[in-house]
Amino acid sequence: MSVTLVTILMMGMFLTGFLMLWQNFNLNAVALNDAVRISSQLERERIRTSLHVGNVEVDTENCAIDLEIINSGLEAIAPITGFEVMVSFPGGSNVPRILEHEGGSEGSAVDTWSIKLADPSEAEPSIARPGSSHTIRMGLNLPEPSDTTAFVIVSTPNGVTVGADVTGILTPCSATE
């Protein structure tokens, strides 16, 4: 009788240990699987994301640059406010900088960027659908003279970048508030 009880007890302990080990293994496998799935999804989105630069215009009076970007990828990019905009001055004296997004206006405050809407009644102003174009307006403060060219980098929220040379800048200048 006692031998049977001991055997049952031992088997119970063995089974409990096995189940705990199995559960731990499963939890680890699920976490790993989730990480791989999310990482693959982000990478797939990046592969399907692409930007091109269209028209580039310099507003010398307001020390601003208007840069048209075209979503040439297969993914909608949203929100547009998640873009990163950086400006540098190859061979120039003005310091390279990352611009802040200026929400809710089409102004050109110093060292900010905003979306310049072609049509104020645009249905989805904060989404760049594949094939659509948006104009980014950058307001700059360029105190150092003699810089006439800039290099603008625009990055999507998932890190896909496009760059454009901008010529015809007149410095020194400063964007109006």
């Binding site: 790993l32 990480a35 791989v36 982000l42 540098s88 061979g91 310091v95 890190g159």
Partner: protein, 124 residues
């Protein structure tokens, strides 16, 4: 085993993208913008490893230094975090033995858990 698994999960979910590098050949500073495109925050920022490589010429491991001495890097603004989706601005002061005559260089950035981002750049 669980710690090792967590470490692997965090590595898979960590990713950085060097958005741009601005480097004027007349100056000693290099500016770089690096985006956290993974699913975790990265830190501490001062534990990030930064390397400057000039193919065929040399290789420099830069030290973190908020004072900005030659051969060091710092984040801007100082004390900036590097959360998911954030861009880290790096200010690099080139080392004294940096090959200034070479035009093309590589910036390599490694997160504290060993995920590497790399970009080739040109000095203007």
């Amino acid at each position: 085993m669980e710690a090792a698994n967590d470490s692997v999960v965090r590595r898979i979910g960590t990713d950085v993208e060097i958005l741009g590098v601005a480097s004027d050949s007349s100056g000693a500073d290099i500016e770089a913008w690096i985006k956290n495109v993974g699913t975790y925050s990265i830190g501490p920022v001062n534990s990030v490893d930064v390397f400057l490589i000039t193919p065929g010429e040399g290789y420099s491991a830069l030290l973190y230094d908020p004072a900005g001495l030659p051969g060091t890097w710092r984040e801007y603004p100082l004390g900036a975090s590097w959360e998911r989706g954030e861009v880290l601005s790096l200010q690099i002061v080139i080392p004294q033995d940096f090959s200034v005559s070479a035009k093309y260089h590589i910036l390599r950035v490694a997160t504290p858990n060993g995920v590497v981002g790399e970009a080739t750049f040109e000095r203007w």
